[in-house]
Symmetry: C2
Subunit: 128 residues, 2 copies
């Protein structure tokens, strides 16, 4: 199994500082919870332990999600994208995924894009 | 509206080469389709035009998704994460999101993580 895990990690195209971004999604509701970064060792721990572990770019240390907050992420599935440079982690999230206390890190900040599917009269900006 | 769009773009923490990663999700099924990168101008075009535009790191050019493939992405909503350094785009995806022809870029490559919620006897690796 050791060779096998190394072969799986070798398929990942880490960036020039050795990291890959991971999209974290609640496996059953499909809610996107957060985006965070893994290096090879964090990925090894995540794939083999059942608990998601990141590399914290701000603290320069491994960070097993939930060790201090209790808001753990249990791994269900990990998928690599077509270019090998992004990962999708399907997890069971306990409690809030975001350090601000919201379920998802994307819950609060709306960039107010034009809604291309809204009826023309309700679109922001000029009409159709 | 010009000042407003610039204020929204100014909230984004672009990385040291001026890019931010965007998670792209089908708005109604919540399927994660792809991860791609935007610079400030790509974000401006995405937020104001209703069509998702990326910065192609491999081709060093703007890339309005679907212009050659027909597989356009119509914007419904754009959200910024708690740190300002990742974007979630909710889109209406026409056809395949992936250049390989699959619906999602994450459809084909399984990294075979241990499933932490599986019954112990079916887990990969050692038992509980």
């Amino acid at each position: 199994m050791t060779d096998d895990i190394e072969a799986r990690i070798a398929r990942v195209a880490f960036n020039d500082v050795g990291l890959v971004p991971a999209i974290v999604q609640q496996w059953d509701t499909h809610e996107v919870l957060m985006l965070a970064w893994l290096d090879a060792e964090a990925l090894r721990r995540t794939l083999t332990s059942g608990r998601v572990t990141y590399w914290s770019r701000s603290r320069s240390e491994y960070w097993r999600k939930g060790d201090t907050s209790g808001h753990i992420q249990q791994v269900r599935e990990a998928r690599l994208d077509c270019d090998g440079d992004a990962i999708l982690l399907l997890v069971e999230q306990t409690g809030a995924a975001c350090h601000t206390g919201t379920r998802s890190c994307f819950d609060t900040e709306d960039l107010h894009a034009v809604d291309a599917l809204a009826p023309a009269e309700t679109k922001a900006g000029d009409g159709a």
